[in-house]
């Protein structure tokens, strides 16, 4: 018997749905371009009347564009196939458009960090012009001051996370893990990174000057956290200031290890952090560009740990300088501080070596080298320092070079500017010292892992391709091994794109993990 289930299939060339779709995409692109165009006009210093209204219009157009675009692509789109043609699209496959976008982004960062006057920042008390002037009204409302380049950047950054976050949530609408963590990232960016600090600085008075403070921005990602100016700000900022200082120390040594133990580093990297937030939302279309070669893994491990050692040294140097020069102001002396840090490092290093030697077989060398560099430097600080000259290095030089090379060039210019070339998490993978610390914890004592589902893997490689951290997930999955990698940020995309249901992010107790009987899968290589 022959039967035909469906007879209203249009035989025409393009289905009517496709026409509507492309029309929507056109409108979306148009609106967003006008919105962006207005910002560019302002940038070109073309005098726009009613700058605050122009800003609102521009933002509305941008939002409208991105939202419509996302709707057209993902809403009511029955198929959950999300990455169709991603390697054919010039912008997402390192084509000409991808390189051009990379160029625009890196130039933007260079101007932002080093030539803010080009954005219209009024120098020496002059009025802002151009793009920055466009944001003056908004800034005045929020924090009581005229806009700076950082305010402009912060606003655009937050807007990007919100809009592309919305797109991301639509794209992964069938996956509640993705939806919740994206909501979380959007919330932390808007509230903690943007609104609260702006409003806090409005509350500051002559007598209490709290530093601009994003509570969730933890040292060492926030490398300037313990600089004298900030610490003094906290100390002088009455009891609230003390509380904040205590919180910022606790979050490094207590809160974040506990959370990482329970959930893996994803609690921060994929649920809270703003750098991760931008990578996951605005960077989502570029995640597959990360390199999966063994070579890049080697580069990654060197680079990220060098940055970590650098940031520890720099911070210690900076703190010990002000402890020394302004000794009367603080209850901690420089030498006591150095001993404290040295002891802490030694305890961490010995515990690791005693209990986790096996897991660390390959990395033990790196760890040992890093440890000894640090200890020698501490000794150096102790014996060879006079005033702000530490160990023949000026702490301020150390600080400013860190700020320049790591804080600006690496995290901004390369980290975001290179999204379309190197993938979305370049900074998180190769540079972020916070990721190094959390990754270390994740590798050594976290309950988090990605479980591989028995023998179901078909080695297709979707997981590896879409891992933004460049982890070759398939290499583990096809052997039936669970994945415990320090760099895994727990974004969960590998599990989402796997067509065979092979991967699951889990926080298992170690006992439970061992309890599964062995079934047929490949043995270890």
């Amino acid at each position: 018997m022959a039967m035909k289930i469906h007879d209203n299939i249009s035989m025409s060339l393009a289905k009517p749905d496709d026409l509507v779709l492309s029309l929507k995409l056109k409108w979306a692109t148009g609106a967003a371009s006008i919105g962006l165009g207005l910002l560019i006009l302002a940038l070109a210093n073309i005098q726009l009347p009613q700058s605050n209204i122009i800003l609102i219009i521009s933002m509305l157009l941008l939002s409208f564009g991105v939202i419509l675009f996302s709707h057209a692509l993902y809403r009511n789109h029955i198929s959950s196939n999300k990455n169709n043609g991603i390697w054919y699209n010039s912008i997402t496959s390192r084509g000409l458009q991808g390189w051009m976008l990379g160029l625009v982004l890196t130039s933007f960062y260079i101007v932002l960090y080093f030539y803010p006057n080009l954005l219209g920042l009024g120098l020496n008390g002059q009025e802002n012009t151009g793009l920055i002037h466009l944001f003056d009204a908004l800034s005045l409302n929020l924090n009581g001051h005229n806009a700076t380049q950082w305010f402009v950047y912060g606003t655009l950054y937050t807007l990007a996370i919100l809009l592309f976050g919305y797109k991301f949530m639509l794209k992964y609408q069938k996956n509640r893990y993705q939806q919740l963590r994206t909501l979380s990232v959007m919330f932390f960016q808007l509230g903690f990174a943007f609104l609260i600090p702006e409003l806090m600085s409005k509350l500051n008075s002559e007598s209490s000057q709290l530093p601009y403070y994003d509570l969730k921005n933890i040292w060492p990602l926030n490398y300037a956290q313990f600089e004298q100016g900030r610490v003094d700000g906290f100390l002088n900022g009455s009891s609230l200031g003390m509380l904040l200082l205590a919180f910022s120390i606790l979050s490094v040594f207590v809160i974040s290890p506990i959370l990482t133990y329970k959930y893996g580093k994803r609690w921060y990297c994929s649920w809270v952090c703003g750098c991760g937030g931008l990578a996951e939302t605005a960077g989502d279309s570029f995640r597959h560009l990360s390199s999966k070669t063994l070579k890049s893994w080697k580069v990654e491990r060197w680079l990220i740990h060098v940055v970590l050692v650098f940031v520890i040294l720099m911070t210690v140097a900076v703190i010990s300088t002000y402890l020394e020069t302004d000794a009367l102001q603080y209850w901690l002396t420089r030498d006591a501080f150095l001993v404290l840090i040295g002891a802490l490092l030694t305890v961490v290093f010995s515990l690791t070596m005693i209990f986790k030697r096996k897991e660390l077989a390959q990395d033990a060398q790196y760890a040992a080298i890093g440890f000894f560099v640090l200890i020698l430097s501490l000794l150096g600080f102790h014996f060879f320092s006079i005033g702000s000259e530490l160990f023949f290095i000026d702490a301020e030089t150390l600080r400013s070079s860190y700020g320049f090379f790591i804080g600006s060039i690496f995290s901004g210019v390369i980290g975001v500017g290179m999204y379309p070339i190197l993938g979305s998490r370049v900074w998180c993978r190769f540079g972020c010292p916070m990721a190094a610390v959390l990754g270390f914890q994740q590798r050594l004592f976290s309950k988090f892992r990605i479980t591989t589902n028995g023998g179901q893997c078909i080695s297709c490689g979707n997981c590896s391709t879409f891992c933004e951290m460049g982890i070759d997930v398939r290499a583990y999955a096809q052997k039936g091994e669970n994945i415990v990698r320090s760099s895994c940020v727990g974004c969960g995309i590998c599990a989402d794109v796997c067509p065979r249901g092979v991967l699951k992010l889990e926080n298992v107790s170690i006992i439970e993990g061992l309890n599964f009987p062995k079934i047929r899968k490949e043995t270890k290589e």
Partner: protein, 433 residues
């Protein structure tokens, strides 16, 4: 004494797995011959290249340096014949290589059953890398290919439908059965997939088969006629995906015993000493429990490769694949199966079936009516934990136990909605009736 030379014909999952494991266990000289690609790639990922999710590069599970580093020689070439007497394999242009042990892992090829017009331009199967290249030529977009007709509603057919649709090419899918894949799935499951496939915009024709393919005067396909309805459908691509069969023609003149595939025992030994066969091309002389004698799946190829490596390296090991499992994906709906679920329950067996209201998820449990013993499960749209189900099968748990502990077997992403309670309540309500 120089090391034994092991030649492997075929660099698919079976050939590569056996090569890697022989290397782990020994220093034998290993040569892998393939007529398809320089390096091992994942056949299961071919579809994602066409869909633009991956580049060919991404489908290679090992980086190119891996083989040299592990001293596994890769050779591009086509084995024309095997001479078991002189222990040599013969490649084209008079090159022959001698072996001490030969492993045949030549995989499958698409079945063609002699339809009129099956050699026209634009008619193709989908199995090898070259088929992907052909598809890229025959159906690059919906301007060149205004409609595609896929013949055969199997796993490859449905993948092709999804692929073509990703490029907005209208697809007609001809399925001989009265419901999609109902030779393997139960009626309820198959019916749900019919609805899903149709809802995705595929022109699904059930209970029909291909009569003839017509070409234009340039030799390009232009239409097909359906046997049952005589209807003619205009199209620019005809994909023949009614199934695969062992790719063993090159062995026809050899002394190796062949039925459909190369016949082997449970040690993968063929009728000729020092020649073995694994993967899609191998056929077990005697069925193992109720498994098929030819198993054309990824996982079995992998397990066979690992098993045979032990035998080759002196630790004779029997093929013992454990409980059956498999998985697939039908457009958006993932499918997993563990143990045995028959289309109609076997004698003394029964099915317990749950389907979610949204028509994208279902579970079918087969169990023994008398003892209650759990036999196997089919899952659509829900991920299950292999380890746990395998354990339950080993422990011969009964259905009620399984349903009671079903949450332990859930493998969906965190925060996913759970249906175990609903399922258990349905079961209770049925028992009480």
């Amino acid at each position: 004494m120089s090391e034994e030379h092991v030649i492997i014909i075929g660099n698919g999952i079976s050939g590569i797995t056996v090569a890697r494991h022989i290397r782990k266990l020994s220093d034998k000289k290993i040569t892998v011959i393939s007529n398809e690609s320089n390096y091992f790639f994942s056949r299961t990922a071919l579809m994602y290249i066409y869909m633009g999710h991956m580049k060919f590069e991404n489908t290679k599970p090992y980086e190119d340096w891996f083989w040299e580093k592990n001293n596994i020689e890769l050779k591009l070439g086509s084995v024309q014949s095997v001479d078991a007497l002189s222990k040599t394999v013969c490649l084209g242009n008079d090159e022959s290589i001698s072996y001490d042990k030969l492993i045949i892992a030549s995989g499958s090829k698409p079945i063609k059953i002699g339809w009129p017009g099956q050699d026209l331009i634009g008619v193709q199967g989908f199995y090898h890398l070259e088929d992907l290249h052909a598809l890229e030529k025959n159906a690059p977009d919906n301007i060149k290919c205004k409609r595609a007709v896929i013949v055969g509603g199997g796993l490859i057919g449905i993948e092709l439908a999804e692929m073509l649709q990703s490029r907005h090419i209208p697809v007609t899918l001809l399925v001989r059965e009265n419901s999609f894949w109902n030779t393997t799935l139960t009626d309820g499951e198959s019916a749900m997939l019919n609805r899903h496939i149709t809802a995705q915009g595929i022109d699904l024709r059930l209970g029909v088969s291909l009569k003839e393919i017509h070409g234009d005067n340039l030799g390009n396909v232009k239409s097909v006629t359906i046997l049952e309805t005589k209807e003619e459908i205009q199209c620019n691509l005809v994909a023949l995906t009614i199934g695969v069969t062992p790719n063993v023609d090159f062995l026809a003149d050899s002394t190796i015993a062949i039925n459909r595939g190369v016949l082997t025992n449970r040690y993968f030994e063929t009728s000729v000493k020092d020649i073995y066969a694994i993967g899609d091309c191998a056929e077990q002389q005697l069925p193992i429990e109720n498994r098929n004698t030819i198993e054309a799946t990824w996982y079995t190829g992998r397990i066979m490769g690992q098993t045979l490596a032990n035998t080759i390296c002196g630790n004779k090991t029997e093929y013992n694949p454990g409980h059956w499992f498999n998985s697939a994906k039908f457009m958006d709906i993932e499918y997993q199966t563990y143990g045995i679920v028959n289309v109609q329950p076997a004698e003394n067996h029964s099915h317990f079936y749950w389907k979610h209201d949204d028509d994208t998820m279902s579970l079918t449990f087969e169990y023994n009516k008398n003892s209650g013993e759990f036999q196997g499960i089919n899952s659509l749209g829900i991920r299950l934990r292999h380890e746990v189900i395998d354990r339950w099968l080993n422990e011969k748990r009964d259905l009620e136990y399984v349903l009671h502990h079903l949450n332990k077997a859930n493998f969906d992403a965190e925060f996913s909605r759970k249906y175990e309670k609903e399922i258990f309540n349905l079961y209770k309500s049925k028992v009480e009736l």
